[in-house]
């Protein structure tokens, strides 16, 4: 192919960013928020949930961490409606749209990774903190909620944010479902106009810019909020 038409990027900017990037970013933030909350719950279950719940939580984390994200995406997209039907005893499969399905997929998948980070964070807090909390007469829940977890999040924030950047990159995989995220949008334009080189290079440059800037930001943030023990 002779001659690259870089104007195609300019012409499709609104579609790429307003449709594609907006989907990617929305999915990233919502899945990260949900994943952190769920991940913290799972980490706590593993630590203090008793034998059965702890085993379930551990099994969940090991399962999610041993499967490729692509496979999990397919699982959820095709099978969640059936699972919903079975779980709620409905007469027909529960209708789940593309966005809801991807949100559910990424939240549940990343929760396993977030839970490992939170668990490591809890493990890094000196044991004296728990003991001091109990000595002050606080219940386990109060100690966790007011003493331990705030420290965990402060120490682990850089790692959690790095995992969020990884999540942002992973959202490109919704391509396999023909969902229009940023990469999907770039692909659609590329295939429609036959401009593969221009669009894919542009997509790579944008992803690089966003992720690099974000990771530099995280590095700087980590320096500022670190707790010196």
């Amino acid at each position: 192919m002779t001659g690259f038409d870089w104007g195609v990027i300019w012409r499709s900017l609104p579609y790429l960013f307003l449709d594609g990037m907006r989907f990617s970013l929305t999915l990233t933030f919502l899945a990260a928020a949900g994943g952190v909350v769920l991940g913290t719950g799972i980490a706590l279950l593993r630590l203090a949930g008793g034998r059965v719940l702890g085993a379930v939580a551990t099994g969940y984390v090991n399962l999610m961490r041993s499967l490729p994200l692509v496979l999990v995406i397919f699982w959820f997209y095709f099978l969640v409606p059936y699972i919903g039907q079975w779980a709620t005893g409905a007469s027909r499969p529960v209708q789940v749209g593309a966005f809801a399905s991807s949100l559910l997929t990424f939240t549940l998948f990343e929760a396993a990774y977030f839970s490992e980070i939170v668990r490591a964070g809890i493990g890094s807090i000196p044991r004296g903190q728990m003991a001091a909390g109990f000595a002050l007469g606080l219940t386990y829940r109060q100690v966790m909620g007011s003493v331990i977890l705030p420290q965990v999040f402060r120490t682990m924030l850089p790692v959690l944010l790095t995992q969020t950047i990884v999540l942002f990159q992973d959202t490109s995989l919704v391509y396999v479902l023909s969902i229009t995220d940023f990469m999907g949008a770039a692909s659609k334009v590329a295939q429609r106009d036959g401009r593969l080189v221009e669009m894919y290079v542009f997509a790579a440059v944008i992803y690089f810019a966003v992720c690099y800037a974000a990771s530099q930001g995280v590095r700087r943030l980590g320096g500022r909020i670190a707790i010196i023990r």
């Binding site: 041993s66 990159q169 894919y200």
Partner: protein
């Protein structure tokens, strides 16, 4: 609409003619393992080099290492594979590009190289962390003994660094296996792609994906056990990792 279960589907012949559906999935698993092994070799080789480059006392070397790591870490794997597969043949000279495109096993080779480079950034960071965890005295002792820098790395620093970072490298290796599934987008017929094909031909969605899930879990378990054995064999008494 209720789903029709049919676990006997695995023994039925697949339309592709190479045997049963079970054989089809097995073929996919073999491809997955082959690509993972190749990609891991590439990742280890390049990751080692780049990790070492980031720790040598040369500004240029450190910049090269940092650039490599940042480049391959900040672009999603899917985009990287597309660049290798679609963009590279178009920007090189026409004859080379045509040869690339006519390669029968293009997806296989591209996946191995692409995934290998992607993982090499992470391996490089691990190696750098491992080298950084060593006391400064090790390097100085090497110089004092009259060893050149390459010799110091080869005989003193790297052996210890690898033993320290073996656990994180295990999870990177498992990541490599999982990442091969992304290559189905450039036409690599690996396990996940085969499970999809099985689903398309036989309409048995649950069965196909369950088989693929179990296969990945088994591979994961085998890899973890292998690495744990390796860790036990190479551990150095007196070090935290031991």
């Amino acid at each position: 609409m209720t789903y029709n279960w049919n676990w006997r589907i695995f023994w039925e012949p697949s339309p592709e003619g190479i045997g049963t559906y079970w054989d089809m999935l097995l073929g996919g698993l073999v491809t997955t393992l082959e690509v993972s092994a190749l990609a891991w070799i590439v990742a280890l080789a390049m990751g080692c080099i780049m990790g070492v480059l980031r720790t040598v006392p040369s500004r240029l070397a450190q910049a090269v290492g940092a650039a490599w790591v940042e480049l391959f870490r900040n672009i999603p794997l899917l985009v990287q594979l597309f660049l290798w597969y679609f963009v590279l043949p178009e920007v090189v000279p026409v004859a080379l590009g045509d040869w690339m495109k006519s390669l029968q096993s293009a997806p296989f080779v591209i996946s191995a190289v692409g995934i290998g480079c992607f993982m090499s950034a992470r391996v490089a960071e691990q190696v750098r962390a491992g080298l950084g965890a060593l006391p400064r005295g090790q390097r100085m002792a090497g110089t004092a003994l009259g060893l050149t820098l390459p010799q110091t790395y080869r005989y003193v620093l790297l052996p210890m660094a690898f033993r320290i970072v073996l656990p994180p490298l295990t999870s990177e290796m498992i990541s490599t296996v999982k990442n091969t599934s992304v290559a189905l987008t450039i036409g690599l017929v690996e396990l996940t792609a085969r499970a999809r094909a099985m689903q398309e031909f036989s309409f048995q969605v649950f069965e196909a994906f369950t088989a693929a899930t179990v296969a990945y879990m088994v591979v994961n378990l085998a890899a973890t056990l292998l690495m744990r054995w390796l860790e036990r064999r190479v551990r150095v008494p007196g070090y935290v990792a031991a």
